[in-house]
């Protein structure tokens, strides 16, 4: 027996799908707790990790911040606003195959990469100078 379909696990997956992108474990917990206040935060963390390992959702590790979770959708990269800290999507089809061009002097076997862009979001560009 591998895994069991618990209501908590369904709730986590549904919440991630409902929030669509860039929700933290805390936000996902809050979303679920609105209707099911007895769910444990540990259960949310656990199921997010399991679902991410199984590839049903995508874990986005934010340096210096909480991990975010995306529902399964087209591949994309992310930008984080240096001012407000929010994360947005960026279309980046052309980056596919990037690692093929890398000159590597260590004999590394590449399996992938994470790119996180930095910038200032439109809201923060408007709201005053830096």
């Amino acid at each position: 027996m591998k895994s069991r379909n618990t209501i908590q696990r369904s709730l986590v997956l549904e919440a991630v799908n409902r929030l669509k992108c860039h929700a933290t474990a805390d936000q996902i917990y809050a979303e679920i707790a609105k209707d099911h206040p007895t769910i444990s935060k540990a259960t949310v963390y656990r199921n997010l990790a399991l679902l991410a390992n199984w590839g049903e959702i995508r874990r986005l590790e934010i340096p210096g911040g909480a991990d975010c979770f995306d529902h399964r959708c087209h591949d994309h990269c992310h930008v984080r606003c240096a001012k407000c800290g929010r994360v947005f999507d960026v279309d980046m089809e052309f980056v596919t195959g990037l690692e093929k061009g890398i000159h590597d002097s260590h004999g590394f076997f590449f399996t992938g990469y994470d790119i996180l862009f930095h910038g200032i979001c439109p809201d923060c560009q408007r709201s005053g100078q830096h």
Copy 2:
């Protein structure tokens, strides 16, 4: 008066230069403590943050792990071995200007990016399958 030259700050900078690349705050603290066991770990953290903000050293944020610090050297990207977790350098001159090609649908103003590659290092390729 802006900043003062303390021996602790010098020790931190020297340790980073001596360790060259990918040392964590803890490793840098240990390196210094060999000769100066009375230095506080808080002081090491503080000076690493200051030196990184001033651009004298480079902070490398590792998702899910401790930040690493590099001495100032040529621009390069990093690979983390998925097995042993060590971080290595990767030459990547051609990536310069990457953000120019991005199709952005949010009006974002880009200031930079971090790329962290994943892979298996030579040591781990040799030592058994996956």
